[in-house]
């Protein structure tokens, strides 16, 4: 693919990821525990990871986090960043080293995202008791990971390769 075309595609995907982040921030929270959410923007990260490669997925996630912090405030920036770094690293490694399905890769991404956020929350608030949230967050990360994995997988298998 030509570089200019690729840049245009990645720009569009970054915009879609940003919009999904924004839509998600408007959804009401069902469970009163910080960190439980769908992670809609991860559909884009997952799709780009499979369609392009890890570099593009990392780039798009980073830009999304920085831009959405500038637009909507920096309070959650360290949490988003730690979650995304851990989650992407895990997904990239699992995709490269195992034959696990895109759904399982997405589940690992969701779970690792939540673990990264809890780790930052424990460091920022110096409250070790927060590890008590881990089981609940693992369950929610698994559920949303399956959902995002199905959506990302559908998108990947139904769209043609970019040329």
């Amino acid at each position: 693919m030509r570089t200019s075309k690729k840049v245009a595609f990645l720009g569009v995907f970054t915009a879609v990821a940003l919009i999904l982040s924004y839509i998600e921030s408007m959804l009401p929270t069902f469970v009163p525990v910080p960190g439980i959410k769908l992670g809609l923007a991860n559909i884009v990260a997952l799709f780009v990871l499979y369609r392009f490669s890890y570099r593009e997925a990392a780039l798009i996630s980073l830009i999304r986090i920085v831009v959405s912090s500038m637009l909507f405030g920096f309070t959650m920036f360290p949490y988003s960043l730690a979650g995304a770094v851990l989650s992407l690293t895990g997904m990239i490694l699992l995709k490269k080293l195992t034959k696990l399905s895109i759904i399982t890769v997405s589940v690992a991404g969701g779970v690792l995202h939540n673990l990264g956020q809890i780790a930052v929350a424990v460091l920022v608030t110096e409250t070790v008791g927060l590890v008590g949230y881990i089981p609940v967050l693992l369950i929610s990360g698994t559920v949303s990971g399956v959902l995002i994995g199905v959506l990302g997988g559908l998108l990947y298998s139904k769209t043609p390769e970019f040329k």
Binding site: V33, V124, E126, T127, G132, T142
Partner: protein, 121 residues
């Protein structure tokens, strides 16, 4: 069509189910081992700013009024906060050792301490 990345094999189910199983076991262990606490410590940005025993019932302003804490019947809960989503208020009442209410926008946590730990804190 690349259906092979999409199909779930046995190995996928094993990974997903073991994560769920581990979480449920951990949840049960946390629930069953938790004892009633003696009171709460309030931390802002990691610093302990206040300690309230469950014996001191009443309404307290935390962090210069950003969050309002209530102690009542051996339980602690927040009734108001200045953040938009008020997740900390929705987290409800805590009474068992280690239970925590978190307000990430204000970097504030309220954690139940154990009856034995009062002296250390």
């Amino acid at each position: 069509m690349k259906t092979e990345v999409f199909s779930l094999h046995k190995r996928d189910l094993i990974v997903i189910l073991s994560i769920l199983l581990l979480s449920v076991i951990a949840l049960l262990v946390f629930r069953l081992t938790a004892k009633n606490g003696g009171g709460v410590t309030v931390r802002v940005d990691g610093e302990i700013v206040a300690v309230y025993s469950f014996a001191d019932e009443g309404k307290y302003e935390l962090n210069g009024g950003t969050n309002i804490l209530v102690i009542e019947d051996g339980k602690a809960y927040l009734i108001d906060a200045d953040c938009p989503d008020k997740l900390c208020v929705k987290q409800g009442r805590i009474s068992r050792e280690g239970q925590t209410i978190t307000c990430l926008p204000n970097k504030l946590t309220v954690t139940v301490y154990g009856v034995k730990n009062i002296v250390e804190i």
